[in-house]
């Protein structure tokens, strides 16, 4: 039901305690005027947010949901917001399946010092929701919620790769290396939160291989440059598709 007899809409915000909640505080301290629709729920980290929370909110009558965390790389817990980014991005794609307008959901990054940015984010998002108007209300969201729950469970493990398997993976590569010209993978970039491509030719190279949420780039893009060579490649599930594509093309 519309809040304040139509003056407001129902907007739920999930803010991480360390950056965005602080940013919202900073905006307050600076007396940065904002629309009053938003209600903030404080969570320790954007990585704590279960996509189900958002779907529940949207199916139970929220007109919009805004998630905000620390800027990538500034996560108080090192990597939480990278997991969040993965899940929320997929969630965005998934919402229409549930008949929810994906424009009703947005995620962003605001640091504790960015009071002005927070003000702007809130204002823009609130305007957007007001343009969309109140969300259609379901008399019984439960069945949809069940579907969502099942679907989203598969999201949960997103990006939780395989650290344990890394050792075996390295062994496997080392074993195969002699018969290959090169194996493509990832290695740590200029800091622990960044990866750069790794081209493994010697066992020493293989030891540089890393695996985790920071393996963002798709190594398959390098395959064409190795035309005619015998190369191995380490991929994420999503990357494997591009490999398949490449195989089909040539």
């Amino acid at each position: 039901m519309p809040v304040l007899n139509g003056k407001e809409l129902r907007i739920v915000g999930f803010l991480c305690n360390w950056c965005s909640y602080g940013g919202a505080d900073t905006a307050g301290v600076a007396r940065a005027t904002q629309p009053t629709d938003l209600r903030v729920i404080r969570v320790p980290c954007s990585g704590r947010i279960d996509p189900l929370f958002i779907v529940k909110a949207l199916l139970n009558g929220a007109d919009g949901v805004l998630v905000s965390g620390c800027h990538p790389r500034d996560c108080h817990y090192a990597a939480g917001n990278f997991y969040a980014r993965r899940r929320l991005e997929v969630l965005k794609q998934f919402l229409p399946v549930l008949g929810i307008d994906e424009r009703r959901f947005e995620y962003t990054w605001v640091s504790a010092s960015e009071g002005q940015r927070w003000q702007q984010v809130v204002t823009v998002f609130t305007d957007r929701i007001h343009k969309l108007g109140p969300a259609p209300q379901l008399d019984d969201p439960e069945p949809l919620l069940k579907i969502a729950d099942m679907a989203l469970t598969s999201l949960r493990s997103l990006g939780t790769g395989q650290k344990a398997a890394l050792a075996e993976l390295k062994e496997a590569i080392k074993a195969k290396l002699p018969e290959l010209d090169c194996v493509i993978g990832w290695q740590q970039g200029y800091d622990a939160a960044h990866t750069v491509p790794l081209f493994m030719k010697t066992p020493e190279d293989v030891d540089k291989l890393v695996w985790g949420p920071f393996n963002v780039n798709n190594p398959a893009v390098y395959l064409p440059t190795f035309k005619g060579k015998k190369v191995g490649i380490v991929v994420k599930g999503c990357d494997s598709r591009s490999v398949v594509e490449l195989l089909q093309e040539t």
Binding site: V12, T36, R39, R42, C45, R156
Partner: protein
């Protein structure tokens, strides 16, 4: 459940745009709320007393305070409810100041929003459970990284406080940058004379273990129980035998070795002792220049060494130390000023850095304290000092002020006059920043008593005029005129940046750093020594540019923090951590993989593999909770149920 709600007026801060009484009235209608009030200042002594009273009087077992941000006063009110006998986690706060009263003027909307935020808190509280902190032992040893003046101070204070100290220094000697300085401002007393004794204390203190020429390789563990791997780089000299007699350095034939300690203003030998007062006073071989190590023939030092300390086959050594706390004091380096091609980019011998000039002034320097031009050894008569080279300069990515250049430039101008009475010094400055005890007076002295010419403006170009002089093209913005000076020597006050490898160390320490590599304190104003990783503290320039007094002060401050931490035999761990419901856990291992802190391990319980949280390591991010497909691992105080309760509260109302 019996909940009490307190709607704070915060004077007019909240009451100005929120009808607190009305909010309290609405709150009384919420489930389980048996008491609601709207005091003037909840955080003030009477306000807190009122809460305690209400808890007793109304037998409350949960409290909601609607006031300012929990980031501000949550600890305060937790203590309040604790005093009244409640568990501190039976408190919830609604932020109706920063998030309501301060960001909108519409009384109706604000009041309504405040009421809903209160309901949010009530619903959360209804799902709260008392949490008990666990306690664990503290290893009362401290690691100090960096043996500059800040690190030395921190180490000595800790050691005097009875704490065993492990001091790791990258260079062959402690003393850091201060050891390279000739004199110090504003008292112009000899740097070596005031630092020397402290260095000796470090060497002699029974509580201090010094690893010079060593670097921190790896850090694991958590506050109270860190495990540190230290790489002792090979010196090719067995320090247990080396007496620092210096016989080797006299005989070594590789005399063209660049002298790093003298900022490359002079040369030294391949085997060398940094400087006379070096601590430890031990020889080190520079493998890039040692003929024995390069060509395999020479071995002079081995022949002349009376104790047979030379070991050409020496290799790096990894040492493991257990400590309970860490102080980072890694200091700074000068930025690479060769990007200034208009100043010659390092190609003109008579354009030098301020630190190089310190060595030229210093009696222990390459010129024995006689100022001579690097190019021809002539005594310079006209010296130009250029400030802000690599400071306050966006175009080279250094927008910040390096803080102490104004002061040491004034000092160097004064010393120049002392060394060469018939010399003339010019200083190009943008602003004189001397906000310290006796600082401004000092810069005034440089101008008034020592006749240093201060010129307000930057320098556009410096070039040799082919007559053995440098032409300095500057400006006097006060005069509104370009100015040109023929100089024999130009000294650039090169800006500072975080010392090489700071970001990498920060990753090891799991602390954050800014875009220039300076380590981040956990609060700019109120926690300038702490970091976001418990048990890790900062001292000196590694946290941000500061001069010697400030570095020393922060060194002592860090030591105080360490001693305070070690004053307890046991530490309490934050109970807001993940917990595994072993009945639900199917041991898929996803939580173990996603945890950024390696805080979850697999254990066997009744023959079954189960996940288990290492309570002291878990930081409470809840990543595992949103990852577990079974909902088996839950973050205390932010469980799925608690958050969903908040969501429902918002949507149903």
């Amino acid at each position: 459940m019996r909940i009490g709600v307190f709607i704070c007026h915060c004077g007019s801060n909240i009451a100005g745009t929120v009808d607190c009484a009305k909010v309290a009235a609405i709150a009384r209608t919420y489930p389980d709320v048996v008491y609601a009030d709207d005091p003037m200042y909840t955080c003030a002594e009477p306000g807190q007393a009122a809460i305690e009273a209400a808890i007793h009087e109304h037998k409350l077992d949960g409290v909601v305070v609607a006031s300012c941000s929990p980031r501000m006063h949550e600890p305060t009110f937790r203590r309040t409810v604790e005093r009244a006998g409640l568990n501190r986690y039976m408190l919830e706060m609604a932020n109706i100041r920063e998030h309501v009263s301060w960001i909108g003027k519409d009384m109706e909307a604000n009041t309504n929003k405040a009421a809903e935020l209160v309901q949010l808190a009530v619903e959360k509280l209804r799902n709260n459970k008392p949490l008990m902190a666990k306690s664990f032992d503290v290893n009362k040893r401290v690691l100090v990284i960096g043996g500059g003046v800040a690190g030395i101070q921190a180490a000595l204070d800790c050691a005097d406080g009875g704490v065993p100290v492990v001091l790791v220094e990258r260079e062959a000697t402690i003393g850091g940058k201060m050891a390279k300085l000739d004199k110090t401002f504003p008292t112009v007393d000899c740097s070596a004379c005031i630092l020397g004794p402290k260095m000796v204390d470090v060497a002699q203190h029974s509580n201090i273990t010094l690893y010079a020429y060593s670097e921190v390789e790896d850090i694991s563990g958590y506050v109270g129980n860190f495990t540190v791997k230290i790489r002792k780089r090979s010196t090719y000299v067995d320090w247990s035998l080396c007496t620092g007699c210096g016989a080797c350095t006299e005989k070594c034939p590789a005399k063209k070795t660049p002298d790093a300690f003298n900022e490359l203003t002079g040369t030294t030998t391949a085997i060398t002792i940094a400087f006379p007062q070096a601590i430890p006073k031990k020889a080190v071989i520079n493998p890039q220049f040692c003929r024995q190590l390069l060509k395999g023939k020479c071995g002079v030092c081995a022949k002349v060494c009376p104790t047979g300390a030379i070991k050409y086959d020496m290799e790096d050594e990894i040492i493991t130390e257990e400590v309970g706390s860490i102080v980072a004091a890694t200091g700074y380096d000068l930025m690479d000023w060769t990007v200034y091609k208009e100043y010659g980019g390092g190609t003109y011998p008579d354009v030098i850095t301020s630190l190089q000039y310190e060595r030229l002034l210093s009696a222990s320097g390459p010129t024995g304290g006689h100022v001579k031009r690097p190019s021809d050894g002539r005594e310079p008569k006209n010296i130009v000092f250029v400030q802000c080279v690599g400071s306050r300069d966006k175009s080279v990515g250094r927008p910040y002020c390096s803080g102490f250049c104004c002061m040491y430039t004034a000092k160097q101008a004064i010393l120049t006059k002392d060394h060469i009475p018939d010399s003339k010094s010019f200083v190009f400055y943008m602003d004189i920043r001397a906000p310290g005890k006796m600082y401004d007076e000092f810069t005034r002295r440089a101008m008034e008593e020592y006749g240093t010419e201060y010129i307000r403006g930057r320098v556009s170009q410096i070039y040799p005029d082919a007559n053995g002089q440098m032409t300095v093209m500057g400006v006097d913005t006060l005069l509104g005129q370009p100015v040109e000076i023929k100089a024999d020597l130009v000294v650039l006050a090169v800006g500072v940046e975080a010392s090489k490898g700071s970001p990498q160390l920060a990753e090891k320490l799991r602390i954050s750093y800014d875009s220039y590599g300076f380590f981040m304190e956990s609060h700019v104003k109120l926690k300038p020594v702490e970091t976001n990783t418990a048990g890790v503290y900062l001292a000196g320039v590694c946290q941000g540019v500061k001069d010697i007094p400030a570095s020393v002060a922060q060194g002592s401050a860090a030591a105080a923090k360490v001693l305070a931490l070690f004053s307890k035999d046991k530490l309490e761990s934050d109970p807001q951590i993940a917990q595994v419901d072993i009945r639900r856990c199917v041991n898929c291992g996803k939580c173990i993989r996603c945890c950024p802190f390696g805080a979850i391990k697999e254990v066997e319980i009744r023959g079954e593999g189960k996940a288990q949280v290492i309570e002291t390591v878990c930081q409470g991010c809840g990543l595992c909770t949103s990852t577990c497909p079974q909902g088996a691992i839950q973050l205390s105080h932010a469980t799925d149920n608690q958050i969903l309760a908040e969501v429902n509260a918002l949507c149903q109302c």
